[in-house]
Amino acid sequence: MTSIDITNLTKEYGGRRAARAVDGLTFRVEPGRVTGFLGPNGAGKSTTMRLVLGLDRPTSGTATIGGRPYATLDEPLRTVGALLDAQAAHPARTGRDHLRFLAASNGLPARRVDEVLEETGLTSAARRRIRGYSLGMRQRLGIAAALLGDPEVLMLDEPANGLDPEGIVWIRELLRRLAGEGRAVLVSSHLMNETATFADHLVVLGRGRLLADVPMREFIDAHSHPRVRVRTGDPIRLRATLLARGWTVGETADRDGRWTVEGASAEEIGAVTAREGIPVFELADERASLEQAYLALTSDAAEFTALTPQEV
């Protein structure tokens, strides 16, 4: 069981007016679960991944895999599979040659190349030049490269980028399976609803700093406000009754005739409407989505939202 350990990691770019892309970051990516890596553009997600892989040098702090810096691993591709930038493959090579040189460098058998091509659905395109690949095919090739060494740790930067709906379902199932096999899986994304479908745990960055490192369920609960949706036969009485008891009720119903009550639970509203004899057709707690929880977290730090640097 191998994990990624990041300790006090800091990376500054530029000389005197140094900007901190990553600022004193500490967290661990545990095996056996998918860790969603969230944060706005420029929050330091990609920089963190590059530092883990030894592509950039940290200003201070360490990033290790199973206790060792990436550059000292004996079998890098068998230990970590990473997808950083699907555009980074040389366009003049065929997909197969791209995987062949990677496999050869780590002494992986050529059979693995055909296996990962098959697994990512690229077999028929393998002998074509990468220049002619669609964004989704390049993404699949990047994932194929990450899987090449059957690694214990996977680190994928926006893996669903450019994939079609079937591809998105495929990557979701792949990530779940890899974590289920006991691997440590770190997946960055800025698509919250997508991340919610595969992540068990979340690490959230803002301006290079750690904002949260919690199980996804806990994160959503902590950053969402209770809210109830109710459909009734007597909206006028419902509103009047609830407002009189101090709840906030939306001005209008939604398209399907549901009213939103903020700060309430279904139990509370159910009890009140029963007591008052208001007919209720539908009553449900509304769980916040990951997106809402994430936006709640980031707007809590209003200063942070305003100052988030835009990625260029």
Partner: protein, 248 residues
């Protein structure tokens, strides 16, 4: 082969060169240009030029080197620059995070490939030219002949690695080609005409002494090649220094 053994990384570097048309094409062009230029030049002006006696008879045979070395330069440059297109170096470093091993293996593969093709080109130029030189032909057993055939290979390999080192430093084949090609075709030629003294020490001029029957100036055949080797070592060191230090 175990993971990250030098043999595995050398194999990987060879696949990289084979799988990119511009790199592999430039490598093949070393021999193709040697044959093509020799066939274009010697049947027509091989003997008349030799007759003037102005040029070292052996060096005249290697006239195609002026063009062949451009293929060598572009082989060195494209083999290196393929790592900088779209950040491809990141893929290479993920597979081989030991930068010294990666850089060393590339230099060995590029240098060896250029040496083999360079020696073949050397013999091709020698025998092709001689086939058309009539009474001015030089035998392979004549003084300096064998030395020059192998020397041409060594010179082309050194020029290739010089170009590779510079490309790692500047991270662009276009930059390196637009410096080296005009330099070799024009600057070196012009300076050579003006002052023989300083020009002797230029990377191309010095190394080409190995192609003369009687080397010009102060440098001998092998010391001249040694001077080129020093230029190459400097370029390779600069490229290595840049690769070691920079964020990929």
């Amino acid at each position: 082969m175990s993971a990250l053994s030098p043999a595995a990384v050398l194999h990987s570097e060879w696949i990289k060169i084979r799988s990119i048309r511009s790199s592999f094409g430039s490598l093949l062009a070393v021999v193709v240009a040697a044959l093509g230029i020799a066939l274009a030049v010697f049947p027509a002006i091989g003997q008349p030029e030799a007759e003037t006696g102005e040029m070292d008879p052996l060096f005249w045979i290697y006239y195609p080197v002026n063009f062949v070395q451009i293929a060598a330069i572009s082989f060195g440059a494209t083999a290196a620059s393929s790592e900088f297109l779209n950040g491809a170096l990141r893929n290479s470093l993920m597979a081989v995070p030991r930068r010294n091993l990666l850089y060393g293996a590339k230099a060995v593969v590029v240098g060896s490939a250029a040496l083999v093709m360079g020696v073949v080109a050397g013999f091709v130029m020698f025998f092709t030219a001689n086939a058309f030189l009539g009474k001015y032909a030089i035998g392979i057993g004549d003084p300096g002949a064998l030395r020059s055939c192998f020397g041409a290979g060594l010179y082309l390999a050194l020029i290739t690695l010089f170009s590779m080192g510079l490309t790692f430093l500047l991270r662009s084949a276009v930059a390196v080609l637009s410096i080296l090609v005009p330099f070799i075709l024009i600057v070196s030629f012009v300076i050579g005409g003006v002052s023989e003294g300083a020009a002797t020490w230029l990377p191309d001029r010095a190394g080409q002494q190995i192609l003369f029957q009687e080397p010009l100036g102060t440098l001998g055949a092998w010391t001249g090649l040694g001077v080129t080797a020093l230029w190459t070592a400097a370029a390779l060191l600069a490229g290595w220094w840049a690769t070691r230090r920079r964020d990929a």
